[in-house]
Symmetry: C2
Subunit: 131 residues, 2 copies
DNA sequence: CCAATACATGAACATAGGCTCAGGTATTTG
DNA sequence: CAAATACCTGAGCCTATGTTCATGTATTGG
């Protein structure tokens, strides 16, 4: 196990240097004077984009099916009760986020989860929502 | 222009059970005939709603700051370079998802992460994106 | 009490995203 | 080849959402 949670945020060098005048409450920092830098904007955008892929019921249900076994597109569509077009669009998003992989067999395309990360996420969120 | 969108068209609730064999490729199920049911729609919506809260750069940067220590609202606003109003709106979303907690001290409100779940998620996603 | 600070909230505007529709590509079949 | 199947994709419609702006509430200070 040993999930290493590096308590240090990773990216420095982001000085908010806008010409904005400063507030007063800045003197009340409860933490030490150590620079606590936020996540950089570009990386926060990449991460938000990733979470956006998970922020859709249809895609989550696709993932839940693929967690059980692999399926071809039309089976996924039928089981979710949505059009093949919609499924195909959503699978494209999942592919883009490297959440699923596929293999072709004749004219069918079988999709499966890409790796275990998504299952970990799934479990953690279920745990959070169950509380 | 008005198409047949009479009802909500959001949740068809099409209960395709065993009788309705529409597609042809259904016979290629790789799994056994066991019912592989997808995540139920209501739960998938709750989960999507939760991921939606994480699907925003500003909120992720707020979380990254709060992972280091607690902060009052105007400090968060200053460090991210966004308005206090925007921060307040986003903190509301984070509160709703039980991702942050707050304590009042005078006229200031100090926010901190609610529990460890978000840090786990954060780590898993960083790992996924780093590959 | 009145002004200022710190934060919250509703409305409005601009953008992003999911679905349907209408094709398009690739593979199998007659 | 031509039709059918399985899947992909661009365009457009409609809804959801993040921000700003203006205002409201609570606490501190003169």
């Amino acid at each position: 196990m040993a999930r290493q949670t590096s308590s240090r945020t990773v990216l420095p060098t982001r000085r908010v240097s806008s010409g904005e005048a400063e507030a007063v409450c800045s003197e009340h920092h409860s933490g030490s004077g150590a620079a606590v830098e936020p996540l950089e904007l570009p990386e926060s955008q990449r991460m938000a984009e990733f979470f956006s892929v998970l922020a859709d019921p249809t895609r989550l249900r696709l993932i839940s099916l693929l967690a059980g076994s692999e399926f071809c597109v039309c089976d996924l569509a039928e089981r979710l009760g949505v059009s093949e077009s919609a499924v195909s669009h959503q699978l494209r998003a999942l592919r883009g986020a490297r959440l699923v992989r596929y293999r072709k067999e004749g004219r069918q395309v079988f999709y499966q989860l890409h790796d275990h990360h998504i299952v970990d996420l799934y479990g953690t969120v279920r745990e959070h929502l169950a509380e």
